[in-house]
């Protein structure tokens, strides 16, 4: 279980508070008006923002004091998810421990085909559209071994058809790998397609 216990974050004048328990393997969508603190919560769970009070525990272990590198978390940011100077395939492999290059190629290609970006793998990130870039980041984040997945508006730049394909792929991987997934979205259809629970922030 991911237990967000009386967590408080100070962002300048703004004070944000969170309290929530999420079962292992659940997919939770986060909704709320802009500025309510959805992204800040994800960044805090990932370790990029310090909480002023409270704790975050995962399977009864407090992870809120751990360094970013030690947390069982993989995160997709709203933007800047790719290294611009290396190609898409190399970007997709980062953070994943493949046994050999053949398995890396196989796994990445299979996932890329499902997300309809297989023909983009040899390109540089600058040659990709916003939606294609987002799907590369999404692919990598879901294939990483960490049990907690945080996705910050992962489908924002996708058309409705591609959004549906990507959302279904995310749901299938999350369920088959038993990932605990928190996903920020403004779209009701994402909640309907993916969510076990919807956390409406106010």
């Amino acid at each position: 279980m991911l237990d967000i216990n009386q967590l408080k974050i100070n962002l300048g004048q703004q004070k944000l508070s969170y309290h929530q328990q999420i079962n292992s393997g659940d997919i939770v969508t986060l909704q709320g008006v802009s500025g309510v603190g959805k992204s800040s919560l994800l960044l805090c769970i990932a370790g990029f923002i310090k909480a002023s009070e409270g704790s975050i525990t995962w399977q009864d272990i407090d992870i809120s004091k751990l360094a970013v590198e030690k947390r069982p978390v993989a995160m997709l940011f709203q933007e800047n998810n790719l290294f611009e100077h290396i190609n898409v395939f190399k970007n997709a492999c980062l953070g994943i421990n493949f046994t050999d290059s053949a398995s890396a190629t196989r796994t990445i290609t299979e996932a890329a085909e499902k997300l309809q970006i297989a023909d983009q793998l040899t390109k540089m990130p600058t040659q990709l559209s916003g939606g294609q870039r987002q799907r590369v980041g999404l692919l990598r984040t879901l294939l990483r071994p960490e049990p907690i997945i945080l996705l910050d508006e992962p489908f924002a730049e996708l058309d409705s058809y591609t959004r549906s394909i990507a959302a279904n792929w995310v749901a299938s991987i999350a369920k088959s790998e038993n990932k605990t997934l928190l996903l920020v979205t403004h779209q009701v259809e994402d909640v309907e397609t993916l969510a076990d629970h919807n956390w409406l922030m106010t």
Binding site: F83, L94, G95
Partner: protein, 520 residues
């Protein structure tokens, strides 16, 4: 988290270079237990060299900066000037040109029997303030031109489109667009040139005319070499260290100067300039081109007049190999140390510890203000009774040259590494990349900057004379030292030939730098 293994390697490097400096000063202080000669501070001789050191440094910086601005504007507003790329490469060459090559060229051109001296009137004298200023401007004006031009290139097209749409006049464009783009760089360039000229040694030694035209650095050398007056040398060294330190602290509060960057950002919306302006800019550009080319072309008569014996060729070849080996060794070590030193500096930025960052940077760059002559002599005195410096002197040549080029190496790679962290640190941490994995991702990003900095550092190290003059070995002489020996025994033709060979090598390395930049 700050004290992780990679950061410790950088801290050890900073500690080691600081220890070398401390040992050098200890060598001077401990010799005969003499302290500094504080009475010298009241002496009119001291006042005159102090005044001259500051005056020549400030004048050199003012002249270089003031003249560089219109030339940089000419390059910017007239992008189709002939040989513009060669001009920018030549600018780089002028900045790193070994001083002795330049002096040989200047003497052939403007010396007592120089090619154009008869046209300059009877009062003309290359030696003294005017010669020093000329040489300093020659070396630093092109650097300033590159820095300003680079900064102007960064003005976005949209600014010019907006200015046109708002019908801004020429003065308004200057105030609203051009000046804000250049303002910070002008002060940085000015400060940097001031430090370089304040610490200038070979130019003042060669072109200074007696006590009236002596700087602190040369006075230190004279106090040690001719009078062996350690107390006086110490007072002068501390003064030099203090004043250069003040300049340095003021300078290092700001960012580094971008001048080695490629000629990028093709401009599509530059403001139209009148034909009169175009003619003025072309004239200015041609004048600057001639100014930079003439001392190099002045080597040609010497080349023609040289009698090329097998011995001469063998001497030059041997010295060339020695120069390349020493230079490559120095550059490789300096790059490795510079990268290691940047690790804790980057971490201090990451953890938002500006005081630690500034302290580390100060220690890492302190050799920019520690006179090479003082470090060399201090270590020489310290180690002379302990080891055979004739046999082991080359180790000191390498170590001290590494120390001298380190600030340049750090300054050049710093902005690229910090840019990488700015763009990708959060992503790298999120992906939990190991140090080596991160390095493999970082490498393609920093490779052009590393290669061009390596080449630049190689060129600076290959031009060294000051350190070699103390620790060098006549059996293993470098090309600049060979030029010095030829010039010292009035064999100007041979000196010209050796200078031309060195110039050729510099030119090849510069082409490599420009290529590396164009792939950045």
């Amino acid at each position: 988290m700050f004290l992780k293994f990679s950061n410790i390697s950088g801290l050890i490097c900073i500690f080691c270079i600081s220890v070398v400096t401390l040992m050098a000063f200890y060598g001077l202080i401990a010799f005969n237990q003499q302290g500094a000669d504080l009475a010298l501070l009241q002496d009119s001789y001291f006042h005159s060299i102090l005044l001259f050191s500051i005056k020549q440094a400030l004048l050199s910086a003012i002249l270089s900066t003031v003249f560089a601005w219109p030339i940089a504007r000419a390059l910017y507003y007239c992008p189709k000037l002939y040989f513009k790329k060669s001009f920018l490469s030549l600018s780089l060459l002028c900045f790193v040109l070994p001083t002795l090559v330049l002096i040989t060229g200047f003497v052939s051109l403007l010396g007592r029997s120089g090619i154009i001296s008869p046209f300059l009137g009877e009062d003309w004298n290359l030696y003294g303030m005017q010669g020093i200023l000329l040489a300093h401007v020659y070396m630093n004006l092109p650097f300033a031109v590159r820095a300003f031009h680079n900064q102007l290139q960064n003005i976005p097209d949209t600014s010019w489109i907006l200015a046109r749409q708002m019908k801004l006049n020429r003065w308004q464009k200057l105030c609203v667009i051009e000046w804000p783009a250049l303002r910070s760089t002008i002060s940085l360039v000015f400060g940097f040139i001031t430090i370089l000229c304040f610490n200038s040694f070979a130019v003042v030694l060669s072109l200074g005319g007696g006590p009236q035209s002596t700087t602190l650095e040369v006075a230190i050398y004279q106090a040690l070499k001719y009078d062996f007056n350690i107390a006086e040398a110490l007072t002068l060294a501390w003064t030099q260290f203090f004043i250069a330190g003040v300049f340095f602290v003021l300078l290092y509060r700001s960012n580094s100067v971008a001048w080695l960057a490629k000629d990028s950002n093709k401009k599509n919306s530059l403001p139209q300039i009148s034909n009169t302006n175009k003619a003025f800019f072309t004239l200015l550009y041609s004048g600057a081109f001639c100014f930079m080319l003439l001392p190099l072309l002045a080597l040609v008569p010497g080349l023609i007049a040289t009698s090329y014996s097998l011995k001469l060729l063998a001497n030059v070849f041997e010295a060339l190999i020695m120069t390349l080996v020493l230079g490559s060794l120095v550059a490789s070590i300096a790059m490795l140390i510079a990268y290691c030193i940047m690790l804790p500096i980057r971490s201090s930025l990451e953890f938002k510890k500006p005081h630690i960052k500034n302290t580390l940077q100060w220690f890492a760059n302190h050799t920019l203000i520690a006179p090479a002559m003082v470090l060399s002599v201090g270590l020489y005195i310290l180690f002379l009774p302990i080891m055979d410096l004739d046999a082991l002197g080359m180790i000191f040549v390498v170590v001290l040259n590494v120390l001298m080029v380190l600030p340049f190496a750090i300054q050049q790679i710093r902005s690229r590494l910090i840019q990488f962290d700015h763009d990708y640190l959060v992503l790298s941490k999120s992906l939990k990349l190991s140090f080596w994995k991160n390095l493999s991702i970082e490498w393609p990003y920093i490779k052009p900057a590393i290669l061009s900095t390596f080449s630049l550092v190689l060129l600076i190290a290959m031009g060294d004379v000051a350190i070699f003059s103390i620790f060098g070995n006549d059996n293993l002489k470098t090309l600049p030292w060979l030029i010095y020996q030829y010039a010292g025994s009035y064999r100007i033709n041979e000196a010209s030939f050796a200078s031309a060979v060195l110039l050729g090598i510099y030119f090849i390395v510069l082409i490599k730098i420009e290529r590396a930049q164009s792939h950045a």
